[in-house]
């Protein structure tokens, strides 16, 4: 949500309507758009507006939301992380192989995967910050490394199974919750991860310095910001989020080789819809989360409108172009 508390109109003793209008203008577009889309969905599918329906929606959207929030850290620092999708795939097929239907290996698998995520992010960050490879290329290379490595490790054929405990994280519900009835496990993960990321980005030095780097890396450096180290941390966060998203997605959809797909493109799209500037310096965890929700809601809407799955890609394409064009026009008006 908007963080600033300033409202010049209020100071100038403007009318009530003018004050309200100033507030409205400041709301990032993603929120009204999400509400509009969600409204449309609920009209076509009354179930959506029920607690049950909403919880099912949250469960489905959780992986992408987490990925997008992680991608935010890299985008805000001025880079791209194209390796997220293949990291998701790695998580799923790797976990399957480690667990191989043995419940007791569930947590071992999760720990190993998160460790991998940290390493992958570290390497990405190192290549970008110290070897000075543009992040587009560096994470592209990592995409291939991870995809190839993961498929090689599992022999390229579906092997192993995810344990029930593991799958519960991604697809299970907690029952008998007061008021809402059931709450998805992935929702809990989402809230925990989301809270951590919100704190990191909005409440700690890390977030402020990332934004400073994305805005003006030279000025940041001259103000004592440790640019290289922070870039590495941003990539680590992005990769770990991809791992967590992968755990959720694996639970939700089962072992699959194409699950990760091009999720990095979707996470970038979600971020862009959430108002992130692609060259860095601006972004908010909340807005990005709602950008992801908007994308997912769009899927539902298109489904309900009878447009088959593929058309969501087309609509997504239109939306991101519109989002960036709009942001560009908005910035121009400032001058």
């Amino acid at each position: 949500m908007t963080t600033s508390v300033n409202n010049p109109a209020a100071d100038k003793g403007a009318t009530f309507f003018e004050i309200v209008w100033e507030w409205i203008r400041k709301i990032p577009p993603v929120y009204p758009i999400f509400i509009a889309v969600a409204f449309g969905v609920s009209q076509l599918n009354p179930n959506f507006a029920t607690a049950n329906g909403l919880m099912a929606f949250v469960r489905r959207a959780a992986p992408l939301i987490i990925l997008a929030m992680g991608q935010l850290f890299v985008l805000a620092s001025g880079g791209f992380d194209l390796s997220q999708g293949s990291v998701v795939t790695l998580t799923i097929i790797g976990s399957s192989l480690i667990i191989y239907n043995n419940e007791e290996y569930t947590y071992v698998a999760i720990a190993i995967m998160i460790g991998l995520g940290i390493v992958i992010g570290l390497v990405n960050g190192f290549v970008v910050a110290y070897l000075k490879v543009p992040s587009l290329i560096a994470t592209l290379g990592m995409l291939l490394l991870v995809k190839g490595g993961g498929l090689y490790w599992t022999g390229g054929a579906p092997k192993g199974y995810l344990s029930e405990a593991y799958r519960f994280i991604g697809r299970g519900f907690f029952e008998n919750v007061p008021v809402i009835g059931r709450f998805p496990a992935s929702g809990i993960v989402l809230l925990v991860v989301g809270a951590i990321l919100v704190i990191l980005f909005h409440k700690t030095n890390l977030g402020k310095q990332i934004l400073a780097i994305g805005d003006n890396a030279q000025a940041a450096k001259l103000s004592g910001v440790k640019v290289k180290q922070i870039r590495m941390i941003a990539f680590m966060i992005s990769s770990v989020c991809a791992i967590i998203g992968g755990i959720l997605l694996g639970g939700y959809g089962g072992t699959s080789y194409t699950a990760g797909g091009d999720m990095e493109m979707q996470s970038v799209s979600a971020a862009v819809i959430g108002g992130v500037l692609l060259l860095g310096g601006k972004g908010s965890v909340y807005d990005v989360a709602f950008g992801a929700l908007t994308l997912e809601a769009m899927v539902s809407l298109l489904n309900l409108l009878g447009l088959p799955k593929p058309y969501r890609d087309a609509v997504q394409g239109l939306i991101i172009i519109a989002a960036v064009a709009y942001a560009g026009l908005r910035m121009k008006k400032r001058d």
Partner: protein
């Protein structure tokens, strides 16, 4: 002029000698070939790279990627990027086979239509980037997704039509020992080289990509130049699509993304010496980059190396190659 640049300028003068003038990608190509030959000797008794069939396969495999990479080189010299090529390839393959329906008489019509579509896609990309100021990454990603969506939505099942046998000679036929496909690739490369090095447009493209402000001060029509570059990129995607469909016999929506043509064409172009920031590079370097991948792929294939390990090596090469170019730069990369 800032004092830092003087030092750099003087440095450069001292260091510039003949050897440094050869773009680094050719060193890599030589290393890769040498490496391939060594592996060949040790593990396959020298049978791989001396086998003409295999050598030809290296080239044919690289044709589709090579054609697209040439187009990508154009936009990247202009400091832009084209991520829609994979889906344009798919679209072309599907449209071509649907229109042709196996009938040789319909081939010219099909060709005409897909070329027009390519021009349209490139034109739209160019407009988005120049007139709406949309970041090229997003603009071309967006159009790619739109094409993907429409394609998968309309053509996910049912007959895709087919390509007449005659047309398939493009994919399989040859004049003597030289396959048509290689001739096609060669033609595209030479035309691309010609445009870049010998025409005013090419000169202007380097100008616009190198520094758009200098371009404007020199009176260049910067928007027009970029739009044409994007059209060229899409047209090469169309050509690649036609080549692929001539080999497959019928089009399919998954051919583009399957080959990862978008990201791989970017990778080979950057390895070939074209900078993401524009203003320099060329098609020969890009083709060298494509060849590097082609040789590695083929040699490892013949040696029975796991497909997935090949992917890993590809990824590592991309990173290491570009790192070796960038390490000297003073800029902070993002």
């Amino acid at each position: 002029m800032s004092v830092e640049v003087i030092a750099e300028g003087k440095d450069k003068r001292v260091r510039s000698n003949f050897l440094k003038k050869i773009p680094q990608v050719y060193y890599f190509l030589v290393i890769v070939l040498a490496g391939g030959l060594i592996l060949d000797q040790f593990f396959a008794s020298g049978n791989i790279l001396s086998n003409p069939t295999i050598l030809r396969n290296i080239l044919v495999r690289s044709v589709a990627l090579g054609i697209v990479a040439v187009g990508q080189t154009f936009v990247m010299i202009g400091a832009s990027i084209d991520l829609s090529v994979a889906y344009t390839i798919s679209l072309t393959s599907v449209m071509a086979s649907l229109i042709m329906q196996g009938d040789p008489a319909r081939v010219p019509m099909a060709l005409g239509i897909v070329l027009l579509v390519g021009v349209a896609v490139g034109f739209i990309n160019g407009l988005l980037v120049t007139k709406l100021n949309v970041n090229a990454f997003i603009a071309t990603l967006g159009t790619g997704l739109i094409i993907k969506g429409v394609l998968n939505g309309m053509f996910s099942s049912g007959s895709m039509g087919s390509v007449p046998k005659g047309f398939q000679t493009l994919g399989y036929g040859s004049i003597g020992p030289v396959p048509y496909s290689i001739i096609l690739l060669l033609a595209v490369v030479l035309i691309g080289w010609f445009i870049l090095s010998w025409t005013k447009f090419g000169s202007h493209l380097y100008g616009v990509g190198g520094d758009i402000l200098i371009g404007r001060l020199s009176g260049l029509r910067t928007s027009r130049v970029l739009i044409i570059a994007h059209i060229i990129s899409s047209l090469t995607a169309v050509l690649a699509g036609l080549f692929i469909v001539s080999r497959l016999g019928a089009g399919a929506p998954w051919v583009g993304p399957d080959g990862v043509y978008d990201l791989e064409s970017v990778a080979t172009t950057v390895i070939g010496g074209t900078a993401l920031s524009g203003g320099r590079g060329g098609v020969f370097g890009t083709i060298a980059g494509v060849m590097i991948f082609g040789v590695i792929d083929t040699v490892f294939n013949q040696l029975g190396v796991d497909t997935y390990l090949k992917m890993v090596i590809r990824g590592a090469i991309i990173i290491l190659a570009v790192a070796s170019y960038s390490v000297r730069s003073k800029r902070e990369a993002a």
